[in-house]
Symmetry: C2
Subunit: 213 residues, 2 copies
DNA sequence: GCACGACCGTGACATTTGTCCTGCCCAGGA
DNA sequence: TCCTGGGCAGGACAAATGTCACGGTCGTGC
């Protein structure tokens, strides 16, 4: 007995949940997938914190999740789905092929990782492959993710870095995180050192591009 | 005689050029527009510097342009099309409804300005309205753009700000722009003052959110 | 001609940022 | 048990950043 048979709804049509914040993108993808004879979009959400409820409600076979969503990260939602909605396979669909994103997606139990570049046809193909139990990942990206290793930043270092992303001063960050200014400077210095950069702005860029935040 | 008749190709089908860097988005929109019986996508490009050539080649009625494109800004391309391809109406399609973007789009001769939020149906509707000679702009956004006034930053202030966006030091910027470090600091200070912010990072954020860069 | 503003530069100065070293507490592993 | 690593904090110091006052050159417009 194949995995496909288990996962399929009896009608033979793949039930897909779509989570994507940009309205036009969401609508376009939904319409597109809906055109495929064997695919049916049963739920659409624009926020990360609406994913779980929608999934429990509509029991999709595949959840197509953007990562950067308002309310809750698609990666967090993926982990949640894994626990609360085991029949549902997660396929991550993201703008950025950051090594750290891929790593975290896999750790969260995602079955596939797709970048928003590349042709649209890949989307339906990936949905079907994931449903068949295959794992869908760009090999080059996978290699990069493996070779890069996990994030060298500690939880607090990442916190401080993101808290300063908007141009906040050391004092601002210290206040926001209930830390002393000395501590903030120490974390920032550590983050700068670990990223091999020269200041917090560069450190932030590097950490972001690696998917460490 | 209506404007529509002038602009239309004889077949009665609207010829559309699509410029959008994200592959999946581009493909999805092209497919979608292609589904409309009266619309035909005659050219697709992923870079800003390919727009003009493609337009001259395919003579579209409407050019659907993203703003943030590699190679050349969609806004610059719009101004170019206005001069070299007068029969072609420009419809800007962008992620961010920044007041300054709208202002510059209109100054560049765009006939419409659409944000990527909002439903997909708006897209085909906007294409048709632009072709009929109407101007398509979200009224709330238009009001914001008008009330905000034009950018207070001079060309050089904007240059220096963007050159420092990646965390470059004063010395880096000075070298990149062939300026003295003192001059760079003066421009930076001016930009910080005009944006009412406390440092270059905040100034950059503010200038970006206003569409001044 | 003159005022104005954009452009470019200098130098001095105060503040912020980044580095390094020290110390303490606590949890988990060898 | 000791050792290590994370979290937190203080202090001293050098470097980068931001401010200000000043001077000069252009072009545009009144």
């Amino acid at each position: 007995m194949t995995e496909t048979a288990e996962a399929h709804s009896p009608t033979g049509s793949v039930r897909v949940l779509l989570a994507e914040d940009q309205g036009m993108m969401r609508g376009a993808l939904a319409l597109l997938l809906g055109l495929e004879p064997d695919i049916e979009v049963v739920a659409q959400v624009a926020r990360g914190d609406e994913i779980l409820a929608a999934a429990l409600d509509s029991a999709p076979d595949v959840a197509l999740l953007d990562i950067e969503l308002p309310g809750r990260s698609g990666l967090d939602a993926a982990a949640e789905l894994r626990a609360r909605c085991p029949g549902c396979r997660v396929l991550i669909l993201t703008t950025f092929g950051r090594p750290g994103y891929l790593r975290r997606a896999m750790e969260a139990g995602a079955r596939g990782f797709l970048v928003k570049d590349g042709p649209v046809e890949e989307l339906a193909r990936a949905v079907r492959r994931v449903l068949r139990g295959e794992t869908v990942v760009d090999p080059a990206l996978a290699a990069a993710a493996l070779s890069a290793g996990p994030s060298p930043l500690t939880r607090r270092e990442a916190d401080v870095l993101t808290a300063g992303a908007d141009g906040s001063t050391v004092a601002d960050i210290a206040h926001a995180l209930h830390l002393s200014e000395s501590t903030v400077r120490n974390y920032l210095s550590a983050a700068i050192g670990k990223t091999g950069t020269r200041n917090r702005t560069e450190a932030l860029r590097e950490a972001r591009s690696q998917g460490w935040l």
